[in-house]
């Protein structure tokens, strides 16, 4: 629709239900200083109006974000765009999902009302350990949003029956000295004896699940789910691992070139020290008690289908609910709600996918965020050239300057004078912030703030490598892990930068030796904050890219 004056804008905003995004295309016409204010438009001052914010994206488009009203939770996209223009500060630690909040996310029959919202909660702050078992059942897709309490009960029952059956058959084969089972048993015993001895008798990836579920059959079911997502990482051909290693290298190079150079200089092993990080999703890098929050944050960032069994691989030794509840494994079929059997499991996109789809004009009919007008006529390359990231909002600075809104995307050239003159003012301020914050490193370290550096990240240049892989599953399933690894590296930035070839008597002066010794000692809280921060940036970039590409094809 065409907007010709302030009143139209007001009207649009008033008619917004609080979950919408309005995007404007601005037809730029040269305006002279004298004419300003005489054309029925006035520049909305920051803070003058409290329920929406403007950001300029490119020379000819502006996003208006409608802030949610009080007591109303903001949508994913709102959160993302809020972040995009700097109003979400990375120091703000979202509290974990509590039992009562979780209860509110379920309807009276126990169905999860809004899976995306639920996953966003978990992504932002993890969950209370009291509800962790239930939360993990959802994250690992042992439950889905259509299952009622009865369905869940039934699933537990059947999973247990099925697991007991499987266990018996394995025992039998062991007694019959089936060589393949014996080999597995010995392998597992070795693994179990030598990992996570603090938590007795578990191995790396299954240990946290068993610890949380306290239930052998659920742990098995969860582990099966997890392996659907992870098995390609463990594939002996090493293809995905190689991909992950390269991703880590290019990402750290894009985020912190100085650190990347230093690592290259002092690491003879081609970042092989990160092999274990990437293989086990950093399981061994944090203390055991902290790994739960790391895993749930990571899992909530993944596309849901990672954990779902496809129809083709419904194996009898897998305990996925789709199979157990729809097959005639036992005779309780009448208890299963009909929707569960008849409906194909709805695939709910991940946080990032939701963002893309909601922004894409050609997206599914369930589009949640109508876009009034679709801008953008730039080519992909110029789009990326014009993007710089906002100064990362890390604690000390944010709190002291919470009133300043810095524009995240600073237009390279500004042909307008109206709104864009404000952009350039703000871009100046943004740059100052960057400089100041870079000088503040020591202060940041002192007060235990996640060290985020550098503050202006040329991720755009780097992301352009993935134009063709935007829907690549390997990439989508690896990025959070990659950012977690980056976060670990940044955590030790200071130590690494101090490595010196002259420290001949210090036997730990190589990056790889250093990290070998840091096993289970990294700070998960800080690492998660940093990783979330980068993941959001990455998500926004992909969103913009996807939007742009679809606009181009139209």
């Amino acid at each position: 629709m065409s907007v010709t004056n302030d009143w139209d804008v007001d009207g649009l905003i008033m008619n917004c239900d609080g979950t919408n995004i309005i995007e404007f295309v601005v037809q730029l016409e040269p305006v002279t200083k004298e004419e300003e204010g005489e054309d029925g438009w006035c520049v909305i001052e920051e803070g003058g109006c409290d329920n929406f914010e403007l950001i300029s994206i490119q020379n000819d488009s502006i996003i208006v974000t409608i802030r949610s009203k009080e007591h109303e939770n903001s949508s994913l996209l709102q959160k993302a765009t809020n972040w995009l223009h700097g109003s979400v500060s990375s120091n703000h630690q979202t509290p974990c999902l509590s039992r009562s909040e979780f209860k509110n996310l379920l309807d009276k029959d126990g169905r999860l009302i809004n899976e995306n919202k639920f996953r966003q909660y978990i992504f932002d702050g993890g969950c209370d350990s009291i509800i962790r078992k239930q939360v993990w059942c959802y994250l690992l897709r042992l439950h889905n949003d259509m299952m009622t309490n009865n369905d869940k009960e039934l699933y537990f029952e059947r999973a247990k029956e099925q697991y007991e059956m499987l266990k018996q058959s394995w025992r039998l084969r062991q007694i019959q000295e089936d060589p393949s089972i014996l080999a597995l048993v010995s392998l597992i015993q070795k693994d179990v004896r030598r990992t996570d001895r603090t938590v007795k008798f578990f191995s790396d990836m299954v240990a946290p699940i068993l610890y949380v579920t306290r239930d052998e059959h659920l742990a098995y079911a969860g582990f099966c789910s997890l392996m659907r997502y992870m098995s390609s990482v463990f594939n002996p051909d090493g293809v995905l691992m190689k991909k992950r290693l390269n991703l880590l290298k290019t990402t750290i190079k894009a985020i912190d070139p100085e650190l990347s150079t230093k690592i290259e200089e002092f690491d003879t092993g081609n970042m092989m020290f990160a092999y274990r990080w990437l293989l086990l999703d950093c399981k061994r890098e944090f203390p055991f008690k902290n790994i739960f929050c790391v895993f749930e944050t990571l899992w909530s960032s993944l596309p849901l289908h990672c954990f779902d069994c496809s129809n083709t691989d419904l194996a009898a030794n897998d305990l996925c609910p789709h199979y157990l509840l729809s097959s005639s494994v036992s005779s309780h079929e009448d208890m299963v709600s009909t929707t569960l059997i008849n409906t194909q499991f709805r695939t709910i996109p991940s946080i990032s996918v939701t963002l893309f789809e909601s922004r894409s004009p050609s997206s599914s009919p369930t589009k949640q965020f109508p876009i009034t007008t679709i801008p953008l006529c730039h080519t992909t390359t110029s789009f990326f050239r014009s993007i710089t990231f906002p100064p990362a909002k890390s604690t000390s600075v944010t709190t002291s300057r919470s009133s300043s809104i810095s524009h995240p995307i600073l237009s390279e050239s500004s042909s307008s004078q109206n709104l864009h003159s404000r952009t350039s003012v703000d871009s100046g301020r943004g740059a100052t912030e960057v400089d100041e914050m870079q000088g503040d490193d020591d202060e940041q370290q002192q007060i235990g703030i996640p060290f985020i550096s550098p503050l202006s990240i040329p991720l755009g240049k780097w992301l352009i490598n993935f134009v063709n892989d935007i829907d690549d599953d390997d990439l989508n399933c690896s990025m959070f892990t990659i950012f977690l690894c980056v976060a670990i590296l940044l955590q030790h930035r200071q130590s690494i930068m101090q490595f010196n070839d002259n420290h001949l008597n210090d036997d730990c002066d190589f990056v790889s030796c250093f990290f070998t010794r840091m096993v289970r000692q990294h700070d998960s809280h800080r690492a998660l904050q940093t990783a979330r921060h980068y993941f959001k940036q990455y998500t926004i970039f992909k969103l913009r890219l996807k939007h742009l590409l679809s606009a181009q094809t139209n």
Binding site: E177, P179, L182, A183, V185, S186, L187, Q189, K190, D191, R193, R194, T195, R197, D204, N235, P236, D237, G238, M241, K242, T268, G269, N270, M272, F273, Y275, R276, L279, L280, R284, D501, N502, L504, N505, D507, C508, D509, F510, S512, C513, F515, T516, V519
Partner: protein
């Protein structure tokens, strides 16, 4: 029954990580995390008055790792410690295939030391010392029995390997200016006593 199972080539606990820990930290940790990928250790030693820095890669079993990883293990290694467990015969039986693999992917001059570990457990010995010696003689390897637990011969195993590498440098077999050989000369000005300093992946632990 389980013995049969471990006869497969998986999950061998011959004590590689424990050997490394004993060498770098002079301590023994009876239960060590199962190594994943590769772990790293380093220590300075002195040979003929020259300071030499050993960088040691502690690897998983060759068989368990992916091809890509395998290649980078060998690249730039000047020496390798091939470890078996004297109390587990099957770890000894796999030496041949490991050796073939190592020779195929590495520099032909790579110094290989054969190590029979856990010699403190003589009561449970399954592989006689003479067998180890014979295997080493046949394939041109240096041989030692060690115990990561009591530290017997651990120093010697690493230092002798380094000495052998050093000898090859003196003879001109290894070109220390070429880092592909896994040897790097330290900065002369930084430490006048340092002649050659095998630094880059001087030794890599390995296993059958």
């Amino acid at each position: 029954m389980l013995e049969k199972a471990t006869d497969r080539s998986y999950g061998m606990c011959v004590g590689k990580s424990c050997l490394l820990l004993q060498f770098t930290d002079k301590r023994f940790q009876p239960v060590h995390d199962l190594t994943i990928g590769v772990e790293f250790g380093a220590r300075m030693i002195t040979i003929d008055g020259k300071q030499i820095k050993l960088q040691i890669w502690d690897t998983v079993n060759i068989i368990e790792m992916s091809f890509n990883l395998c290649i980078s293990y060998y690249r730039g290694a000047a020496g390798a410690l091939l470890v078996y467990d004297i109390t587990q015969r099957h770890t000894f039986n796999h030496l041949t295939s490991w050796l073939e693999d190592a020779r195929q992917h590495s520099n032909s001059n790579m110094v290989i030391m054969l190590i029979g570990n856990k010699c403190d457990l003589f009561a449970r010995r399954e592989v006689q010392k003479e067998e180890g010696e014979a295997f080493a003689r046949e394939h041109g390897l240096i041989f030692m029995e060690t115990s990561a637990k009591t530290a017997a011969n651990v120093e010697e195993a690493f230092i002798n390997t380094a000495r052998e590498i050093y000898g090859k440098i003196q003879e001109g077999v290894f070109d220390p200016t070429n880092e592909v050989n896994g040897i790097k000369i330290g900065p002369q000005h930084a430490n006048p006593r340092t002649g050659e300093r095998p630094s880059s992946s001087a030794e890599k632990g390995g296993c059958c």
